[in-house]
């Protein structure tokens, strides 16, 4: 029976990894436009960065506010390495190995700075990471030779052709990124299944007890920090190749903050959570920011709601529903989900119309009083428009809350049913 379970698990694992590899392989055929490839490249880089961050946050319980230091320094070192070899054109092989140079740089700085950082845990750890983040960002202004000052440093990734590969076309860079993404994700997943990876979970749960089963908790944190630094560096090296320019922002607090935010949003308690977070991060930065000037406001609100109502992130929402589905109870919830979605959409419509009108009035006054909102012409001087937007918002919020209460009750019943079934199953197993 155990063997049977093990073999199905094994098979499921193979399927998941194959699907992941295929997705990476075929994605540029589906999203084949320039924008599509650009976004895919950034998603690959972000996946590595967010997963490496989650080694700290989700697996080790280390809330870092300065993870961009390691991805950023990795990017700078990789860029310097690229330029150092660009007497003529670099060889394609060098460019292929460049992300590893970034990784080693991230590892080096994690060894150097992580020793101090991981001496403490909890709030003190968070404060130290914040301090080191600021320190390195300040250095970027003090040492323009390395950081390139305001303009950053740029390079050229084009190589002598090797079997037709020059890394000129974005598509070729994408496949380099895809290979690194796949290998990094596999390796980081493997890490969670090693003694060090498991003891890191133990340190997260109870650092004191770890010391009474023979382990030095600080040493575990330090080693995990180094591993995280290495993968962060790889993502930095890839970013350097991708953008061909590295500026001081990449080590800054804003970048560190977005790693934290989107890793959390995706879900820090599951391995795949940060992957979802990374996809959302790139979509938010590239697409959503084009759509509206108020995108950071929306992002902040979404983050706030997630922290309050779904602290496990999107991954935990998915897994909760998968569990419900496994006991055949998801179908019954679907109408409720539909109602929730519709009412949420109405609320969102009203609220975002109001937000956009406020933004337009404050920021774009010069372009006239009307703004284009989803094809509608809204006039920020027209009281009727304000009132109708407000009415839609109030109606939407009211309806949503009404539906939500019904849903919460229903959800509670379903959860009780599922837990009962699980208990029965366990008793059968004995």
């Amino acid at each position: 029976m155990t063997n049977f379970r093990a073999s199905t698990l094994q098979r499921a694992r193979w399927i998941i990894w194959s699907v992941f590899a295929l997705t990476l392989l075929l994605a540029p055929l589906v999203f084949s436009g320039n924008l599509g490839i650009t976004i895919l490249c950034q998603i690959g880089i972000a996946i590595i960065a967010c997963l490496s961050y989650n080694i700290l946050l989700g697996q080790g319980g280390m809330l870092s506010f300065g993870h961009a230091v390691y991805s950023g320094l990795g990017a700078f070192v990789a860029m310097h390495a690229l330029n150092a070899f660009t007497g003529g054109k670099p060889s394609a092989l060098l460019v292929m190995l460049l992300p590893l140079v970034g990784g080693l740089a991230g590892l080096f700085f994690a060894v150097l700075l992580g020793y101090v950082t991981t001496k403490k845990s909890g709030t003190t750890f968070a404060m130290i990471t914040l301090g080191i983040g600021e320190l390195v960002f300040a250095m970027s202004l003090m040492v323009p030779e390395f950081f390139g000052g305001e303009g950053g440093i740029s390079g050229n990734r084009m190589t002598e052709p090797l079997l037709g590969i020059t890394f000129g076309p974005q598509r070729q860079v994408y496949y380099l990124i895809a290979v690194y993404t796949f290998l990094s994700v596999v390796t980081m997943y493997a890490f969670t299944r090693t003694p060090l990876g498991r003891m890191l979970n133990a340190v997260r749960d109870n650092p004191e007890r770890v010391e009474f089963v023979g382990y030095n908790a600080q040493r575990i944190r330090y080693m995990a920090f180094i591993v995280a630094g290495f993968f962060a560096g790889i993502s930095g090296g890839l970013a350097a190749l991708n953008f061909e320019i590295v500026t001081a922002e990449v080590v800054g607090a804003a970048r560190s903050g977005s790693y934290l935010l989107f890793t959390f949003l995706g879900g820090a308690t599951f391995f795949f959570g940060p992957i979802i977070g990374a996809v959302l991060m790139v979509l938010a930065f590239v697409l959503f920011s084009e759509l509206t000037k108020a995108w950071l406001l929306y992002l902040g609100l979404i983050f706030m709601f997630m922290v309050m109502y779904a602290p496990g992130g999107i991954a935990s929402l998915i897994m909760m529903n998968v569990r419900v589905a496994a006991y055949g109870r998801l179908r019954g919830l679907l109408p409720q989900y539909l109602l929730l979605a519709v009412t949420a959409l109405i609320a969102l419509l009203g609220l975002s119309a109001l937000t956009e009108m406020v933004y337009h009035r404050q920021l774009d006054g010069a372009t006239g009083a009307t703004l284009n909102f989803l094809g509608m012409a809204l006039d920020d001087g027209n009281a009727t428009h304000w009132l109708s937007a407000l009415a839609v918002a109030v109606l939407g919020v009211g309806l949503f809350e009404w539906v939500r209460r019904g849903f919460a009750q229903r959800w509670h019943v379903v959860q009780e049913y599922v837990e009962q079934q699980e208990l029965k199953k366990r008793e059968h197993a004995v």
Binding site: L196, R198, N206, V213, G214, Y215, A429
Partner: protein
Amino acid sequence: MTHALQLKNLRKSFGKTEIIRGVDLAVQPGERVAVIGPNGAGKSTLFNLISGRFAPSSGEIWLGQHRIDGKKPYEINRMGLSRSFQITNIFPKLSVFENLRCGVLWSLGYRYTFLKFLANLTDANARAEELMRMIHLEHKHDVLAVNLTYAEQRALEIGVTIAGGAGVVLLDEPTAGMSRSETAHFIDLIREVTVGKTLLTVEHDMGVVFGLADKIAVVVYGEVLAFDTPEAVRANPRVQEAYLGSHVAESQAAGH
């Protein structure tokens, strides 16, 4: 002859308050020692000193041939001394099996490795399974520790403590908060899993103390008032006066 554990003139002060005031104690290999004494006598502090949670202010602690006072908890653990906690101290978000495996890893030499898969560590996994059977939690293999009942958590606490195969085991109030019937079962469990080990335990239940221990150390106000066989301790007039008498009176008043 080498003692399993020896304390020499051990002292510990917090600020100006001296909690442990010159404790001498020598425990022979394989002995079961119950440490008893009124609340605030310093029993838990004594355990914290021995296990390295606090460093003593002065005095010596010897574990076999090794002097261990001032060493870190993990160093002491590696030398073969392990302890449990009065307030359950396990890994709440790991399963029962994972809890036990975490207790096993170091002793089997896996240290900080990240080049081996846990699933392939046959010896560690077999040992964790065996421990799970010993503490009667084999049917809770994948249950998170936080979801166990209180008694099961206490059993897991003992399991994690003995997992590394330490020769000297300190149990700090293992039956705290348990009902009478649970306590009786639990004492059997402790006896089973500590066969051949040197055992020190803080315990309040006098029935348990006299049933389990080869020797009893009576700690009162930071000093060892008596250290002898249960019969001798029971007959000791100083102990009766200082502790047992009042304890019996208390128990009777409480209706036991």
